[in-house]
């Protein structure tokens, strides 16, 4: 409960901004731009969510439940795009496909009649974001399908369902908490994204937030706009949970038997292969080749400094992953052991940080921390006469707290849906044998949710590594990360220089991503 309050503080700071009205800016925004921005944001959501759902679920099912050529390779290769931040996707794709890029150059040479094609539209942005975000759905649904075990599918088959029918009637509905959690992450990422849409000059709701703050110098109006995002996501969360409330997702049979996969044959075998390969090429091979090329061209003596940045990046990611996952377990555990409205709301509030644009969240953390710092030090000064300087601000600790708040949703979703697999009867049985409290957590919950916890940790780890705005604002002196370096170059339009740290970030990110797939494969 206390944790949930701490985690929800920045959200409350954001909501508190309504105490000082900014009527003038609101009037202007409402009259001129807000309608279009909301429309753009909704358009993006309506494209990105179905697209990531189709990509993520189908690939998750193919690699987890079927057998076809290359399955082993794709099962981990399709996770790799997760290591590429959306803003990197955006500048690479713009570099390749924009007016001045090589593709349009060739098209104009060969077919001059075609003219210029502007890819900076809803379709273009949606495609970029979907390529960047589908791994959330893929990883979540894959972990659901893997943990389902063959018994339910077999039961459906014996009842006369075709493989397709069994998938839609049994496997998919059973995976719903996972898929929903994955899609929710995608939705929140889409809402909070600023980097990728800015590179495409595609105006969304976050554009208004930054415009109010950096352009019209009103942080208050920016916070108020952000609170609309928060309310929107809260509504979606509540609705989703309402729909789901009466359903149960426990698994009965043993989770094993890896060779019971559905063997694809004939055309479907090659369709599956082609689809997986296309996605892999578009979402990983193509952007990485372009980045590699740019990085090679811009290789300089400074490159070695990126090793230090990579180390910082990895360290921050790992510490935050441990802290955040631990907190997520505590919240999910208390939620499942005291099911009631209080914990339900607390857990909802705790995951809202994900829907806020990073910089806004950073301010939400910084202002209360600075206040606390000043209070603390004033008291200390009065008591001891020591004139201390700032203490909490600008420390690694505060940065990690901010990360934990931002990425709680990424960790919580996975842990929480894994906990839903634990039947009440198992818990009751354990209780009746005298297992309680932490022992219950240690003996029952943790072992049974191992995959979920592991996925959560990797989600947070990779997300932190890709994170830019919070790091930029709150990092201590001399703690630059790769993402910060990428920002420094991209904000100056120096795409080629940005490629080097971007490649570094992807390589560093691959480590945990590969670990994740290895692990989930060996568990299965």
């Amino acid at each position: 409960m206390l944790i949930a309050i701490v985690v929800a503080t920045p959200v409350l700071v954001v909501l508190g901004s309504f105490l000082a009205p900014e009527a003038d800016i609101w009037q202007h925004l409402a009259d001129n731009v807000l309608g279009g921005l909301i429309l753009n944001t909704l358009k993006l959501l309506f494209c990105v969510i179905p697209l990531t759902a189709v990509l993520g679920i189908s690939m998750g099912w193919l690699t987890a439940g079927c057998e076809y050529p290359g399955r082993r390779f794709f099962s981990w290769a399709l996770v790799l795009p997760f290591a590429i931040p959306p803003y990197v996707f955006a500048f690479v794709y713009l570099g390749i496909f924009d007016f001045s890029g090589p593709v349009q150059g060739v098209i104009r040479d060969v077919f001059p009649a075609i003219g210029f094609i502007d890819i900076r539209n809803t379709a273009g942005v949606s495609l970029i974001l979907s390529l960047a975000f589908y791994p959330y759905v893929y990883l979540m649904s894959r972990s659901a399908f893997l943990s389902q075990g063959p018994s339910t599918m077999e039961a459906a088959r014996t009842l006369g369902q075709s493989p397709v029918g069994a998938f839609f009637r049994v496997a998919l509905p059973m995976a719903r908490p996972w898929v929903a959690a994955g899609l929710l992450l995608v939705a929140m990422e889409t809402l909070a994204d600023f980097g990728a849409v800015a590179i495409f000059n595609y105006d969304t709701f976050t554009t208004a937030i930054y415009k109010a703050w950096f352009g019209m110098f009103s942080l208050n109006a920016a916070l108020q706009l952000s609170s609309i995002l928060v309310v929107f996501v809260l509504t979606v969360l509540v609705l989703e949970q309402r729909f789901r409330q009466r359903l149960r997702f426990h698994e009965t049979g043993a989770v094993s038997a890896p060779d019971r996969r559905l063997k694809l044959t004939g055309v479907s075998k090659w369709l599956a292969f082609t689809a997986s390969l296309t996605l892999f090429l578009l979402a990983f091979a193509l952007p990485c080749s372009q980045l590699g090329l740019w990085a090679w061209n811009s290789l300089n003596v400074d490159a070695l400094r990126h090793l230090e940045h990579a180390l910082n990046t990895l360290l921050l990611g790992m510490v935050t992953a441990v802290v955040t996952t631990a907190i997520a377990i505590v919240i999910a555990y208390s939620k499942s052991s005291n099911p009631g409205p209080v914990m339900r709301w607390a857990s909802r509030l705790a995951t809202l940080g994900y829907a806020l644009p990073g910089t806004v969240l950073a301010v939400g953390v910084f202002i209360p921390a600075a206040w606390l710092d000043n209070r603390l030090l004033n008291t200390l000064g009065e008591l001891t006469g020591i004139k201390a300087e700032i203490f909490i601000q600008g420390s690694l600790g505060l940065l990690i707290v901010a990360y934990a708040i931002r990425f709680m949703a990424a960790g919580f979703g996975s842990v929480d849906s894994a906990m839903q697999r634990i039947t009440p009867s198992i818990v009751e049985a354990a209780r009746s044998m005298g297992t309680r409290g932490t022992a219950l957590l240690k003996r029952i919950y943790l072992p049974m949710t191992r995959t979920g916890v592991f996925t959560a940790a990797i989600f947070v780890l990779v997300d932190v590594m890709k994170e830019m705005p919070i790091t930029l604002m709150m990092r201590p002196f001399n703690w630059d990360t790769l993402a910060v370096k990428i920002f420094e170059y991209t904000s100056e339009g120096e795409w080629e220089l940005a490629a080097l740290p971007a490649v570094g970030l992807i390589l560093t990110g691959l480590l945990p991503v590969l670990l994740l797939t290895q692990r989930s494969e060996s568990i299965k």
Binding site: F200, N201, M216, A369, L472, D480, V484, E488, G493
Partner: protein, 333 residues
């Protein structure tokens, strides 16, 4: 075990203040990118022995950080780009006035705060760049005339979300009044063949590709492209030479109100305006030095002399919010 854990947590949270307690060290918050300032700091440290600690970030976020830290801020100097941001920092009261003969001598009056809370350190000229193969320089005159019908479908612009364009429009408002400025900007928008670009570089590359024929950019973006490929078919045009002159903006710095090492901070600021530092400061990013005794980078000098707008850059900040609203109204994305 608990004791060890507690020590660890304390150590992690205390990270902010441990290193900032040396008396002879300066702390800089900079919105100017690391690769553009580090060589200068290194040179200063080598010369004076004073170590400089810095953190880079976005102007708005750094300003909020300064405000939140209040009197306990470790920062001594705040460096940022764009006069609007400098103006805002002064308005918010995080900077203090500095009376310095050196700075007055080195920085022209219209490039520093009238109340001396900040000083410009490099000048950016926002000018017209055109495709040599398709446009004759005699077709061009000033910013306003880019709205003429002969540029229909030929003008490319960067997004209005970039502060450089906000300052440009702010200066139009300051000069011609809001109604006229709005007409001018609307006429630009009517001439665009495609949506505005996210960066000056993208706009320039699109001119090379032939999407349009003219655009408005800061000269150093043009310079960077030229350095990569001297053969690009682009040239600079200095607009409004018979009128107010080329739109100027600055990057600059001010001493923070709560600096604990004020004298040292002033010395660093003064040094940054001297010939010794100015040459590096400007040429690192192909900008113009504020100090008129210093020569520009040879590439920059090759674009010729021009008349810059003598309006005090501090006025951009005042009109910035108005400029954004105006651009929103006419649909400038």
């Amino acid at each position: 075990m608990n004791k060890a854990l507690l020590t660890f947590i304390l150590a992690v949270f205390a990270g902010g203040n441990v290193a900032s307690s040396y008396a002879d060290e300066l702390v800089v918050y900079s919105a100017r990118k690391e690769y553009l300032i580090k060589p200068l700091f290194d040179a200063y440290t080598a010369k004076t022995g004073i170590p400089i600690k810095y953190i880079t970030g976005k102007a708005g976020a750094l300003l909020e950080r300064l405000k939140a830290e209040g009197s306990r801020t470790p920062a001594d100097l705040f460096i940022t780009v764009d006069a609007g941001n400098l103006w805002k920092a002064a308005e918010e009261g995080v900077l203090q006035p500095v009376e310095s003969a050196t700075l007055k001598a080195n920085v022209p009056t219209h490039l520093h705060d009238p109340e001396n809370r900040w000083f410009g350190l490099s000048v950016r000229a926002r000018t017209i760049v055109y495709n040599k193969k398709k446009v004759s320089p005699s077709d061009l005159s000033n910013y306003t005339s880019l709205g003429d019908s002969k540029w229909k479908g030929r003008l490319l612009l960067r997004t209005s979300k970039k502060v450089y364009n906000q300052s440009l429009v702010a200066s139009l408002i300051a000069e011609k009044g809001e109604a006229t400025a709005e007409k001018v900007v609307a006429s630009w928008i009517a001439n665009l063949p495609v949506e505005p670009f996210s960066s000056d570089t993208k706009a320039l590359e699109a001119v090379i590709a032939g999407v349009g024929d003219v655009t408005v950019v800061n000269t150093y973006y043009f310079g960077r492209l030229l350095k990569k490929d001297p053969e690009i078919p682009l040239a600079i045009f200095w607009p409004d030479q018979g009128g107010s002159g080329v739109h100027m903006n600055v990057s600059g710095a001010g001493v923070t109100r709560h600096s604990k090492r004020r004298d040292q901070a002033v010395k660093l600021l003064e040094w940054l305006s001297t010939a010794e530092a100015q040459e590096t400061f400007a040429s690192l990013n192909l900008e113009y030095p504020v100090n008129s005794t210093v020569k520009s980078d040879p590439l920059v000098a090759s674009w010729g002399e021009f008349k810059g707008n003598p309006m005090n850059v501090a006025r951009y900040g005042k009109y910035q919010a108005q400029a954004i609203k105006l651009m929103d109204r006419v649909g400038y994305k």
